[in-house]
Symmetry: C2
Amino acid sequence: MKRIKGGITAPAGFTAAGVACGIKDDEKDLAIVASEKACAAAGVFTTNKVKAAPVVATRRRVRRQGTARAVVINSGNANCCTGKKGVEDALRMVELCGEVLGIRPGEVLVASTGPIGKFLPLEKVENGIRHAARALRKNGAHDAAEAILTTDTATKEVALAETIAGTEIRLGAMAKGAGMMHPKMATMLAFITTDAVIGEEALRECLMKAVDKSFNRITVDGDRSTNDMVIALANGLAGNRKIRGGAGLKAFREMLELACSELARMIVKDGEGATRFIAVTVKGARSFAQADKAARAVANSNLVKTAFHWGSPNWGRIMASLGYSGASVRRDLVDVYLCGKRVASGGAPADFNAGKLSEALQRKEIEIVVDLNLGDFEQTVWTCDLSAEYVAINK
Amino acid sequence: MKRIKGGITAPAGFTAAGVACGIKDDEKDLAIVASEKACAAAGVFTTNKVKAAPVVATRRRVRRQGTARAVVINSGNANCCTGKKGVEDALRMVELCGEVLGIRPGEVLVASTGPIGKFLPLEKVENGIRHAARALRKNGAHDAAEAILTTDTATKEVALAETIAGTEIRLGAMAKGAGMMHPKMATMLAFITTDAVIGEEALRECLMKAVDKSFNRITVDGDRSTNDMVIALANGLAGNRKIRGGAGLKAFREMLELACSELARMIVKDGEGATRFIAVTVKGARSFAQADKAARAVANSNLVKTAFHWGSPNWGRIMASLGYSGASVRRDLVDVYLCGKRVASGGAPADFNAGKLSEALQRKEIEIVVDLNLGDFEQTVWTCDLSAEYVAINK
């Protein structure tokens, strides 16, 4: 597998554009990604009971037909909690996008991100769609990646190539994230394109596994924002022998997992106000579900996040969050390691070199490992620290 | 019912002291509350699976014997995750306190609050216990209330009197809180004294109900810090006819509930970095459990808390947290009111006077009311806003 240039348009047959249509002040806020050929489409959507209008529309399209040719995305407005008008506005976006691209509206997917509870400025959006459609080009990936951002400070793009059974397959991806403090409420959008020949079902299966190992590690399982979605489109232009199983499927899945995992890490690192990337591993749990609960409780604790913001080895806060996580925990069996150094042994303070640890805690990437010593299951989740900057951003 | 002076020592027969013994730098950190006569004792304890040594010791005493004559409390160190030595230290505290007070160690309860995972400086604590025992006096309530604080900025004290069946009953109380951002990890201690004649069982029943309507409104049910406890002591010196049921029990319960509810509100208002008190009511839920889940999800959302810190009527964040709360929510039925003004109707924006609302949101006490319009159940929880100051405090 190798890294290539090009982001979301790296695979054959994809073009993209990102324009400023005035939803935001003076920033790109509308993107289109299009394929010259119909694509197998798969998607993973928020499980939040309050779903934005574009999520409902896109989910229905992907599930019913499993194919698509374009995605239109706006930032600066979530089109969520906008009643009937919101549904009409989302449908108008796909209809107009289909019209200007000369494809059926049924082949267009739609996504939105931004504040909830405000009506879309539809005329601006319509002008933006017309403008973006004219601007579609092979090297428009970065513009599109910019146009989907909200409080993100940088674009998130990946492009990979891999030879599968003698044919080079390309994969491109872009995402937006931020708002990682309480991951439950961070809108996360990710779009993945590939020129691989692969059926909808295999694509969906690969995508679900990849999302589990990447985006779901930074969000509370089943508790996503109103607008989250991850979409994969495969247009088959690489002309490979269709990926169905065996080594080909494995290689494709690895490529997809790497792309998703890189985007997920970029999202955490660009969390609102984040200064540190924190990987929380809980091992020795009685089940995977318990390892997962425990790791998420630690990762979501504001007190743990602030401690690591200040580089403080306050493992007591880790113990407290394990205790309320809902996982089986026996205090006197728990070992805690920070950056590879054991700070608690059997639930009590361990001897450690405070100076060296304190140095290690200044790093940009922090590793917390908890061993519950109760079983054989393990989970790792990713989070960031909590800074005063987070509060300032979330006006 | 009337307010009286005196805090925790307002009821007949109670004395208290608070001293500085050196666990903290230059601040009071050790308190004793004592009764001249044995008391009926009741307690509510953290359900965190990681329990501090003093919680385990005190819970055992209260549950087994239901009586006590004194409580010794230190701040500056939680004596939690301290292994066998922690257990021995907690027992040494009650043993020495019993010795210097001339009562059985079995009659002494113990509580600790502060950082987790550090051994108590036992010699300092022993000196503090000796010192505090000598300092016990009728007007020592405020000293004791000071000595139990951690990041609190003010003491939390209440004293009430009520005539029950012709006899005046007095009740005094003190608490410590703070750390309200993620209430799951705030150590909360509250101590209540009364001279009422009441049995252990009736006292326990009244205490549990009062805690449910007060302290449990500011914490995630079943998810408390490692050190939380609420203790009530009744020494019977008022000489009233024993409170068993009927109007007497009702009056006593009301007094206890008022005291607990006032302390709970003081804790929220003094939350770390808090600038606003926020009451979140969810009504129209299908069950009480669902109203409770939904209200807590809103109250615990960092994004909701930051929005109200900035006085921003961002009701979309309320909708999103309802959506992941686990409660039944039908987006298109939800009404949201901020400070009495309807901002969302049927899950979509309502017409409201933004200027007036913005003024109302500058108040120190903010009211969020959500009507799910699905049923008849309702719950109110209390929280505070999230400020940059919170991050600074939690080094």
